[in-house]
């Protein structure tokens, strides 16, 4: 009976330490999940920065080559971007969308995978992958968007329908193309480029949700045509501009994305790039910050759990001690009939270890059940402890389960050691005389 109570103590101790740590681990996982939804963790975005310093390094082809030679850099993906209206049937986007040139390999390296439809295939032309927010940007041509209503995603028939990448600019009020230059001369309406939408990306990654992606070939054609149109419309001086209104120079990139082979090296590479004078940013920055917070939390939670396991350890020691007092006579008898000292020590040690191991094992089982329950009903709890939108409140990885069993076994061993030694040292004769 006393042994059962002691085991119960160990079970509670093991449970509390496991559950506390599992909360911390779940918190970690949630951070990671949230951040990886926002962007790929192994991608570093590099930009030349807005620095007016003439000596600041430029993001040119040479820089790109340098990057590709760096250790752990798997792929260098320059960002090529232009803005264009997209027309779909009788609908057109409310404003110019950002169109990026990426080929199939780049997309997969960056982790841009379609949640609807399919990904781009290598060598494919005339296709487009849409960011998750783009279907919400369409309004019937000639009408203006109703901002009082949240935008609804337009159903898009992937593969079968076509979309037009417009070269022309449109009048905001009427939706008619601007076809009159500054001298009042009519210019010929440019022919839009037709592409096939094949896939839609996740709308949780804000970095890509408002972008559309086309193969390089289409992109180059689009930029070319737009340049011609803009020159006709506005004269030569303005050229092509990027999203910040900066003039795009040939051979100079605004942004380059680097795919890193090992996620543990992201910070290292990022540092190295910053040292070269570029601006570098990665989702890992956030994660590192958040991990610091959660590590502190885990330490505190684990500490609370550890206290209860410590109490359990004292319980084991106490039980063993009592058991030795109770069985002093038995120990004496065993000694007299030839038990070696190690036999006696072993007997009590094994019992203590068994209490620890059994308590730990049952503790793991019970915590798994509790963890399961908490996870199924856990939405509310998650919000209370500050894990908003968490999918799991408690995560018990295998190492934690095994670790807890080993730990409580070791606790049993330690707290059983001194009582066992005491039993060993009992004098056989006085032990027998005890009634």
């Amino acid at each position: 009976m006393r042994t059962i109570l002691t085991i119960l103590g160990v079970i509670i101790g093991a449970c509390s330490i496991i559950l506390m740590l599992s909360l911390g681990i779940a918190m970690d996982r949630n951070f990671e999940e949230q951040i990886s939804q926002m962007g790929n963790l192994t991608v570093i975005s590099v930009s030349a920065g807005q620095s007016q310093d003439a000596k600041a390094p430029k993001l040119n082809d040479k820089a790109l080559e340098d990057f590709s030679k760096m250790q752990y850099v798997e792929r260098v993906i320059p960002s090529l971007m232009t803005n264009t209206y997209i027309t779909y049937d009788k609908y057109r986007t409310n404003w110019e969308m950002m169109i990026y040139a990426l080929d199939a390999e780049d997309m997969s390296a960056l982790g841009y995978t379609a949640v609807q439809g399919r990904d781009m295939q290598p060598g494919e032309k005339n296709v487009m992958v849409l960011g998750g927010e783009i279907p919400k940007q369409f309004t019937k041509i000639g009408k203006r968007p109703n901002y009082n209503k949240p935008p609804e995603a337009m159903p898009i028939n992937l593969e079968s329908d076509k979309m037009q990448l417009e070269i022309a600019q449109f009048d905001y009020m009427t939706g008619k193309p601007l076809l009159e230059n500054m001298e009042g001369e009519k210019i010929k309406a440019p022919k839009p480029i037709e592409v096939k939408p094949i896939g839609i990306l996740s709308d949780t990654n804000y970095e890509i949700a408002n972008n559309a992606y086309v193969p390089r070939e289409i992109f180059d054609k689009l930029v070319d045509e737009k340049k011609k149109y803009n020159e006709k419309l506005n004269g030569k001086q303005q050229g092509n501009r990027d999203m910040f209104g900066n003039v795009q120079q040939k051979g100079i990139y605004n942004e380059v994305k680097l795919k890193i082979s090992d996620r543990d090296k992201v910070a290292e590479v990022q540092e190295a790039i910053k040292k070269k004078g570029y601006m570098a940013y990665s989702a890992m920055d956030w994660l590192t910050e958040m991990k610091k917070v959660s590590n502190g939390m885990q330490l505190a939670l684990g500490g609370i759990g550890a206290v209860s396991l410590l109490v359990a350890a004292i319980g084991i020691a106490n039980t063993m001690m009592m058991s030795i007092y109770e069985r002093t006579r038995e120990i004496g008898i065993m000694k007299v009939i030839g038990a070696k000292l190690v036999d006696i020590k072993k007997m009590f040690l094994v019992e203590a270890i068994m209490i620890g191991a059994l308590g730990g094992t049952i503790g793991v089982m019970i915590s798994s059940v509790i963890s399961l329950i908490v996870n199924t009903v856990g939405g509310g709890i998650a919000n209370i402890i500050g894990m908003h939108g968490a999918t799991k409140v408690s995560v018990i990885p295998p190492w934690l389960a095994v670790g807890a069993i080993v730990f409580s076994t070791v606790i049993g061993l330690i707290s059983g050691y001194f009582p066992a030694r005491r039993a060993m040292k009992l004098s056989a004769l006085s032990a027998i005389k005890t009634e």
Binding site: R329, I333, M334, I337, G338, A339, K340, L341, A428, L429
Partner: protein, 226 residues
């Protein structure tokens, strides 16, 4: 309190032959139990020498004593000293466990021994489910299961009625003779003394007299000169 020097045994010179059945006889407080404990290596003399099979017992350390007891010595106590949580069979097999004998063999040996003491039907009973005489027989079986060279019995019949006493004593002496074992019995009961070859009477920590049981009655071989 407790600081007073008590002399339990004083200048004892005693030899016991192999195969002898020997009775340490005396009133309580005479020192006979202390002598037995010393002979068995449970207590150490402050001075002097105890030799069993040419081994100085008092010089062995705890670990060596454990092995020594395992090999040569069996014990029967007045209060049986069985382990209450174990069955008769397990109690008898216990010394063999400490010797590291495989389970099958030790159970076989223990069973044989229990049958020899007439408890073949009670292998699975716990001590509490048996009478005093039966418990003592279990403890005798346990003492003999090792085939010890020397059996020490400390008031083996002290808790038993007359009828059972005779039964138990018959059994102990029979088995001891069968295996040519040395038997040393401590008792204050003159009845027990009749089973012995040699009766050593202890008084006030000294050997008072040594008698031999012969066919013609008791023969005094030594008597302390007052």
């Amino acid at each position: 309190m407790g600081k007073e020097k008590i002399v339990a045994l004083d200048h004892i010179d005693l030899e016991i032959e192999k195969g002898e059945i020997c009775c340490l006889f005396g009133t309580s407080g005479s020192g006979k139990s202390t002598l037995l404990n010393m002979l068995a290596g449970l207590e150490k003399p402050t001075k002097g020498n105890i030799k069993i099979k040419n081994v100085s017992v008092e010089k062995l350390d705890e670990a060596e004593l454990a092995v020594f007891r395992q090999k040569y010595i069996g014990f029967v106590f007045q209060s049986y000293n069985l382990i209450p949580s174990l069955t008769a069979l397990e109690n008898v097999a216990l010394p063999l466990i400490f010797q590291g004998m495989p389970k099958k063999e030790r159970e076989k040996r223990a069973k044989e021994m229990l049958e020899a003491v007439g408890l073949g039907e009670r292998l699975r009973h716990k001590p509490k489910e048996m009478s005093g005489g039966q418990q003592q027989r279990v403890s005798i079986a346990r003492a003999f299961v090792n085939r010890p060279k020397i059996l020490f019995a400390d008031e083996p019949t002290g808790n038993l009625d007359t009828h059972t006493t005779i039964e138990v004593m018959d059994m102990i002496t029979r088995i001891a003779k069968e295996y040519n074992q040395t038997l040393i019995i401590v008792s204050h009961d003159p009845e027990i003394a009749t089973y012995a070859h040699k009766i050593i009477t202890i008084r006030d920590g000294n050997i008072y007299k040594i008698e031999k049981n012969t066919d013609h009655g008791k023969e005094i071989t030594y008597e302390k000169q007052e």
